[in-house]
């Protein structure tokens, strides 16, 4: 048969349509049957098709590869808030608009006043943002306000005499290498940076708040760092594909010393997942720990498995009190490490914790100390500051 390019294209097209049609529609309708939603709008069906399209990861990788060749530094979606920027060092980041963060700081002051009546100390922990002053180079025309927003927020805490630690400043003082502080393809801090943050806060707990524990446990030498090179594609990376900014190395850190920990994870749907054993058995979520899995596996969340309304971690080897931490996702590795020096920690995520107000819960739970750990992007809205005071 004589070769004809148009007919060849048509034959391939039929094959592509049949394969994509069958496998995508099959998956969509299977998921619909599985979830049995009461009502499904056409828009929702459209987004199901987008989510379940056959070879989605491959298509996004291809997209990112082409954009990399075109040297595009900004990747925009239909939702403008999903903009991803490639910084000067090749890492992926987002940026913050200018916000009035004063009301958020005033909420923290009100919470501090509420806690003071019960003699519960409050420590605000300011995690760093990926756009680092004096280091991160954004494309001309993009202005990030994360540092200005955060400075404004902390200045109000200063005026209100709230205890806080600004890890941005601490990182500068400790000469942390900016390039190593965060994953390249994810907005979260690296596991090593989270460990460093844990040592800074644990020292404060011991020095200022009377928590007693073995300070040797703050030394990285007491932990094993398992490195998995080129094994992780972070949340920003997953949206632009592995060929846009490459893959990250992932380090898993776990203590060498003996631990006896139990964890109860309280989910939004009322389910409770319990794990116990040593640090790795109790704290990690096995499916995300599988380093042979696809790089798009969210290894960052292998500590605890993700964000939940409430997670209670008990260290049965210690008797030094309990801490309630109001947190965002930066806390996952941080709290994992903090649990090695704290008898009990209760992580509350206000994005999902809706059953009662935080203050009512504090009245019931009676912690010895309350911490808030937020990264600057959590300062953009009031949701994370709805403490109920």
């Amino acid at each position: 048969m004589k070769y004809n390019a148009k007919k060849c294209i048509a034959i391939i097209f039929i094959g592509v349509l049949l394969v994509f049609g069958l496998l995508t529609s099959g998956k969509v309708f299977f998921n619909i049957l599985l979830d049995k939603p009461a009502v499904l709008t056409f828009d929702e069906i459209d987004s199901l098709f987008n989510d379940d399209v056959f070879l989605k990861e491959g298509l996004i990788n291809y997209n990112g590869g082409v954009r990399n060749i075109l040297q595009q530094r900004i990747i925009r979606d239909a939702d403008a808030s999903n903009m991803i920027i490639k910084a000067g060092d090749g890492s992926l980041t987002s940026f913050m608009w200018e916000y009035d963060t004063k009301p958020r700081a005033q909420s923290v002051i009100a919470l501090r006043d509420f806690l003071a009546k019960q003699d519960i100390p409050l420590l605000y922990i300011q995690a760093p943002y990926k756009v680092i002053e004096g280091y991160t180079q954004l494309p001309t025309g993009i202005t990030d306000y994360s540092n200005a927003d955060t400075d404004l927020f902390l200045s109000v805490l200063d005026e209100g005499v709230v205890d806080y630690i600004d890890l941005r400043q601490e990182a500068v003082a400790d000469k942390l290498e900016p390039k190593e502080m965060f994953f390249r393809t994810d907005h979260h801090w690296s596991t090593k940076t989270a460990f460093w943050a844990f040592t800074k806060v644990a020292n404060l707990m011991a020095d200022n708040y009377g928590f007693e524990f073995n300070k040797d446990y703050l030394n990285l030498d007491q932990f094993t760092v398992s490195s998995y090179p080129q094994s992780f594609l972070g949340s920003e990376g997953r949206r632009v594909g592995r060929f846009y900014a490459g893959l990250d190395d992932y380090d898993f850190i776990a203590p060498n010393f003996a631990t006896d920990i139990s964890v109860n994870i309280y989910k939004e749907n009322g389910e409770v997942r319990s794990q116990e054993g040593d640090f790795t058995e109790a704290i990690t979520f096995a499916p995300l720990m599988d380093m042979t899995a696809a790089p798009s596996t969210n290894h960052y969340a292998c500590y605890f498995g993700g964000d939940y309304p409430s997670v209670i971690i008990k260290n049965h080897n210690l008797h030094n009190g309990k801490i309630l931490i109001v947190k965002d996702s930066f806390s996952l590795p941080f709290v994992a490490f903090l649990s090695t020096v704290t008898e009990e920690i209760n992580m509350i995520d206000l994005r999902y914790f809706t059953k009662e107000s935080l203050t009512d819960y504090i009245d019931e739970y009676q912690p010895d100390m309350v911490m808030i750990l937020y990264n600057p992007s959590s300062l953009s809205g009031q949701q994370m500051f709805a403490f109920g005071v």
């Binding site: 148009k6 007919k7 048509a10 459209d46 987008n50 298509l59 291809y62 997209n63």
Partner: protein
Amino acid sequence: MLFSSTSFLCFFLPLVLFIYYVFLRKNVWLKNMFLLVVSLFFYAWGEPKFVLVMVLSIVCNYFFGLLVAKDRRKLWIVLMLIFNIGLLFVFKYLMFTIYNINILAGANFTVPSIVLPIGISFFTFHSISYVMDIYRGKVEVQKNLFYVGLYISFFPQLIAGPIVRYNTIADQITNRKENFEDFSYGVCRFILGLAKKVLIANNIALVADKAFNTPSGELSTAMAWLGLVAYTLQIYFDFSGYSDMAIGMGRMFGFHFLENFNYPYIAKSISEFWRRWHISLGSWFRDYVYFPLGGSRVKSNGRLVFNLFVVWGLTGFWHGANWSFICWGLLYFVFITIEKLSNFEKRSTNLSWLKHIYVLFLVMMGWVLFRAADFTTASNYFQTLFHLNNNNLVSDMAILNFRENVFYYIAGIIFSMPVVAWIGEKFKDKTSSLTKTYQIIRPVIYFALFFLALSFIVKDAYNPFIYFNF
């Protein structure tokens, strides 16, 4: 449902093609009924309740067709026009009319909130041309209601055209012969249309939107020009890409639609631009408005000017119920009238590039009126374009948008000219080794484009369709 959506590409199109060719291929009636049902389903995907409006339009125009065929009384035509234009008026122009009556007469009528059924301007024009062509004796009446329904609602051309005339496809509805040659052509055309729409129009649209949505005081002159060039490219690739997909899908099912675009930006006069831009709309107004008024074969220039005024006023108004659209239409009235009265097209000149610049400049100025939300916005935009205000000449926003999108600008400018046709000419000699190589890599190019377009869709990238609003 959008052509550039995963639900269309991974569900609707493969399913429809599969059923059509595997189960129904030998029975025309079944094929047509199936296409009618899936076309109504396609329309219902986005606008379930407005399917009733379309069905009403189909049924009424079917009976108007029968009545006109029975005795060619003008009464039926008048009633048909009252019905069709009335339908269009209620959904598209009633709010605008009441709003303006309130302003002009100082009245206080409540302006109702009416949602525009997608594609109503297109299927109304299909319907009018169907009955008018029967009245003029150009086509036989279609006695099968479902076939009239298929003509009006056939999904490739339902939502954004082209405005297919009934006489173009009357015979194809009952006697079409699908073949693999046509199918292959249709596939290639569809892929190119999808690429034009998703890869160029959607990406460059981000710059246009940014420029036109930036407060006038913050917009630099450079950004205003970048935004205007972006919109000029966006509207062409958006609409011609959609037409390519429609024509391509028509071919896949054995229908041959006429072309809707012919590289309008290479025109050397405004009249020529309109012979190349949205050809099906231009020819509709020519055949059903301009010629009945007497066209250009009239005794006086005054009458010619009047005829042109009516046609271009209506063309502008067809695009939207807004004074800026009417002014946009009248802008073309002014320049086409000047061209006609001065025999502009027949005057030969060595400076043909100057004619290109004249056309492009005017068309682009027209797009400002077309795109801006209102006159004030358009006026501010014009001032920034010509640096008549105190805005900056260049801004970081302009540098950013140019740097990020330079590839789309280059691709857009190149492919708005007949480059593909030129390549086709170059590779006409089937014996040359270059042609053979091109033919071998051609499928690779097409599927690189197809999967890239699909990847943008899957990524939930920006995906507007300008002509859905009309």
